[in-house]
Structures are given as C-alpha cells and as structure tokens.
C-alpha cells in the first residue's frame, strides 16, 4: 500500500510541473499580453510605442519566455504566487478572498444536491418501475439538460425580479453582520447549481439502493418479519448511501469548476468569476495560479480516490491500472 501511494506521488509532482509549463506556454502563444489589455481600444491611439515598451519592461514582459517561466516557477516553489498584473494585488490575497466564496457556494450546493438526490433516488428505487420512478428520472435528467445560465437567468427573473423574494446576486452587503444575513444571497445560486448535480446523485443512489435491496441480509431481515419501512431504513439506506456519500464527496472538484458560469450569472465573487476575468485580461500570473489550483484539487481528489479504492478493494493492484 505504501509503495502504491509513493508511486502515485512520484507521478503527481512531475504532472503538476508539466501542466504548469504547458499552460504557461499556451498563454505565451495566445494573442495579446497583459499590457495590451490595459489599454482600451478607444484610447489606444493616444499611447505611444515607447510607453507600451516601458510598461512591458516594468512588468518584466520583455524577458524571454523561458526566463519568465523560470522566475515564475522558482518563486512559486518558494510559496510566492506573485502579483496580479492588472492591479499588482498579491495573488495569495486574491485567492484568500475568492476561494472561500466558491467553496461556500459549492458546499451548500453539494449539500442540497446530496439531500435531494439521495432521497429522490431512494424513493425511485423503492417504487421501482412506477410512475413516480419514471417522472423522477425524467425530472432528474431535465435538470442536467437545461443550459445552466439560462436556468439561472429565468430563476432571477422569477424569484428576484417578479416576486422579489430573493436578491438578484452578489454575496456581501455593508449591512450584513451575521451569517444569517447572507443566507438569502446564496439560496438561488446554490439551488440552481445543486439542480445540475442532482441527477447524478439520484441515479447513483437509486442503483445502489436497488443493489442493496436484492442482497441477502435484506431478505433475511424481511423474512424475520421486520416491517418493510424498518428494513428499508435501518439496513437498506445505511448500506446503500455509504458509497453514494463517498462518491459525492469526490465530485467536489467538478463542482468547483462547474460553478464558473453560475458565479457569472449571480455576480458571485468566487474563483470562477476571477478566472474568467484573468483569462480575458491575459493576467498570466493569476491565470497560472488559478489553473494550477484547479489541477491540484483534481489530482489530489483522484489520488485519494485511487488510494481509497485500493484500500477497499484489494483486487486493485498496482500495474493493473
């Protein structure tokens, strides 16, 4: 087992390094740099070539590609993420503000989708083949079939503008003092995001419940004359939902990436929002840090999954990947 983990880790860091180089190189190939994005086209004629050159020099953009990558890499290794080009803000500071916002949104959405998905999935399994089962399946599928921005906008129109029950977007207001004040802001984005996740959880819960219901100990419990609801509750759910919950936990990396569009719709100041802004502005240091953070999360999650699967199922062995 230990060798397995060490071997995975042995791949982990070279992967990160290779990806960082590829992303940096890709950004280098993309048209325009941070300086060109700071000049609005309307005012571009008023800036001379010398001024642009001076700015590039000040930002270190006229050094060679490899030099810049090396500088970036060495400072990153030392834990210095550098500064955003647009405004010189320390990237660690930007991350410290945006990551919690995204985590907050994602975790709440995960919570909702797990609760809704699991209960509907179990319901579906218990009423297998019935109209309820079918309509739940259709509803779950519909959730993943509607373009999420469209769904988000319609929700805004209904609940924020027409009914005025909930705020249109944003996360904080000056008047907010406690966590309770912030709840109305998170309801819409997290529910819309959760809806996108529900179908998966539901499908998994349903099939794993069906699986369990067919197992022997359930039959035994039933044969002992235990009432049906107790059988389901005590034995079925517990066994069926354990793998579901584990699975959903590992979907977190997806959820972090998946909130990008919803953050945009709901003016949520999270990491996805910042990523889009930095990509548009060719703010390399910021783009690099955020993409590597995504990669880190995904790789770590898959490492943990690998290790756990190996622990649970001894048939998974190294070399047979």
């Amino acid at each position: 087992m230990t060798t397995y983990i060490i071997q995975r880790l042995f791949i982990f860091f070279p992967m990160l390094l290779a990806i960082s180089f590829l992303v940096y190189g890709g950004l280098e190939l993309s048209p325009g740099d941070a300086v060109s994005h700071m000049i609005s086209p309307e005012l571009a004629l008023s800036i001379t070539a010398e001024q642009l050159e001076a700015m590039r020099e000040a930002y270190g953009l006229n050094k060679s590609f490899l030099t810049r990558y090396w500088i970036w890499l060495t400072s990153m290794v030392q834990g210095d993420m550098g500064y955003s080009m647009a405004g010189g803000v320390a990237i660690s500071e930007i991350m410290a503000k945006t990551v919690p916002a995204t985590l907050e949104l994602s975790l709440v959405a995960l919570f909702f989708s797990t609760i809704i998905g699991c209960s509907l999935g179990v319901l579906s399994a218990l009423k297998r083949g019935s109209a309820t089962d079918n309509s739940l399946t259709v509803a779950g599928m519909a959730g993943v079939s509607i373009p999420e921005f469209f769904f988000g906008l319609v929700a805004i129109l209904l609940f924020a503008i027409e009914l005025q029950w909930l705020p249109v977007g944003g996360r904080l207001l000056p008047s907010y003092e406690t966590v309770w004040d912030r709840i109305p802001n998170i309801v819409l984005p997290s529910l819309v995001l959760a809806l996108m996740m529900t179908a998966g959880a539901m499908r998994y819960a349903r099939s794993s419940m069906l699986d369990v219901l067919a197992r022997e100990f359930i039959t035994t419990a039933r044969s002992k004359g235990m009432p049906e609801w107790r059988v389901n509750l005590l034995h079925g759910f517990r066994v069926a939902l354990t793998p579901v919950v584990v699975l959903i936990g590992f979907r977190l990396p997806l959820l972090i990436g998946g909130s990008t569009i919803i953050e945009q719709v709901y003016q949520w100041p999270g990491i996805g929002n910042m990523f889009i802004r930095s990509v548009r502005g060719s703010d390399y240091p910021l783009v690099m840090t955020i993409s590597l953070m995504y990669v880190f999360v995904v790789l770590t999650a898959s490492l943990i999954i690998d290790v756990l699967t190996a622990l649970i199922d001894p048939r998974v062995r190294l070399g047979k990947e």
Binding site: M15, A18, I19, L22, V23, G26, L27, L29, S30, P31, R128, G129, N134, T137, V138, M141, A142, V144, S145, I146, P147, E148, F149, F150, L153, V154, I156, L157, I161, R206, S207, L210, P253, L254, I256, G257, G258, T260, I261, Q264, V265, F275, I276, V279, R280, S282, V287, S291, Y294, V295, V298, L299, S302
Partner: protein, 304 residues
Amino acid sequence: MANSSLNRKFDQIKKREEEKTFSTNKRSRIVNKFLNNRLAVIGLIIFTIIVLASIFAPILSPYDPMRVDLRSMRQPPSFDHWFGTDSTGRDVFARVLYGGRVSIFIGLGSAILSAVVGIAVGCYAGYKGGWIDVIALRVSEIFMSFPQIILVLLLVSITGQSLFNLMAIFIVTGWGGMYRLARARMLSLREEEYVQALRSFGLSTFTICYKHMLPNALSPIMVNITLSTAMFILTEAGLSFLGLGVPLNIPTWGNILNVAQDILILQNYWWMWGPVGIVISVFVLCVNFIGDGLRDSTDPSQQG
C-alpha cells in the same frame, strides 16, 4: 502474402459469426431492451425529428436566417413568422432550424471525432502497451486533470474564437474519457482466449485490435458518444453566454439563446428565447435518454 490469406480467412469466420450472432438472441436482446425503454424510444424519435428538421431547414422555412428586416423587428409569433422575429427582424424559426445545424454539428461531430481519436489511441496503446501506452496515458491524464469548463475556457482564450477552434478544443478535451474506456476494454480483452488464439495465428496487431477486438467494446463507446454530444451542446451554449463561444455572426442555439441575458428581452419577448431554450433542453434531454437507454440495455450490471 500468407498473412493476407489468413486475414481473409478470419474475415470469413468473423462474418459467419456475425451473421449467426444476429440470428441468435445476443444482439436482438440489446435492441429489444432498448425498444422496451419507453423514454429511450421517445428520445430517439424526437432526436431524429430535430435532426431532420435542421437538415431540411430550407424546405421547412422560406426565410433566410441571416435576412435582416429592421422594420419588422421583435414581432410576436404569427402565421408568417412561427416563432416571431428577433431584434433585427430575422425569422426566429428559421434561425432555430439553421442554428440547429451548427449546434448539432458541433455537438455530435466533436463527440464522434473525439471518440475516434480516443478509441484509435486507446485500442492501439492498450493492446500494444509499452512506452506508447505510457505516453498516451500521461497525456490523457494532463487533459483530465482540469475541470472540463476550465480547460475549454483556457484553450478558447489561447486559440481565439471560431467554429473550427471550438470543435478542435472539444476534441482535445473530450478524447481522454474515451481513450481510457477503450484502453481498459483492450487490457481486459487482450487476455481473452480468442485474442491469444488470433495472435498465435500471426495476425497483425492492427487487425486484431481494430477488427476483432473493437466491436466487442462498441456499446460503452456508443453510450459515451451520446453523453458527450449532450455535454458539448450545453458547453457551446454556456460559452456563448460568457462571450467565448462561436462568433455571434454564426447562428447557433447558444448564440440565439444568448439574447436572454438582456432582462428586458427575457421579460417581454419570450419568443426570442423560449423556443430555442426549449429546443436545446429537449434535444439534450433526448440525447441523454438515448444514452441512458443504451447503457441500460447493454450493461448487464445496471439493472432497472
């Protein structure tokens, strides 16, 4: 020479075998099971209708989707304009039909092409093993270590927006899943007796791999293609919302739906976004039903 005659012989055996399997109940059970899944059948029917409507758009609508008529802008649905007109007086029905051509082309085209790439690499690397396998595996891991939307956003900003670039990006980001699937299949099939037998007859790797082993892995591949199609169509729409999709002068479902961003239009001109929103959602839903139906009918471990 000897090899090619051998090849022919095995082709004949395979053909006979296929004919036989068709007549016995292995294939037909899959088809039957699919047909028994009511949702999958409904999905397939609606899917076909939408695809055909897009292909035969010029017959269904007399309007040119690009034809601007400023004096008749934002007209509600009428006998002349079934889905009304948009802000420049273009016929929304025609735009949805023609937009479907582009969106379906992007979705299905990228899904099929990424499957082709993934399978080609996966089968070969999976069967051959060695350094090719190691490299392919690492490359696919690199692409799969990003959340999909993030990687797409990054690549769009690097390559710039165009229809071609978008499809290329979808393929680059989408082949990994298929590759792993095909590879895993190959790894397990490789050890099967019939493959060992073929090998002992001296058939070339290529032939064994693509002609004799691949068909046995076809059903999960089909499932994967349908699910990728659905995902790509939704991603195209999402990208156009972020202003990073297909250039706005090409009508796609995403680009047409994008007008919903304007709250005034969302509130007052439902026909400019409603029909196309429904068409995208229904289309993706149908593709998902088909994928689901395929999975249930081919995968014995998934019951229900």
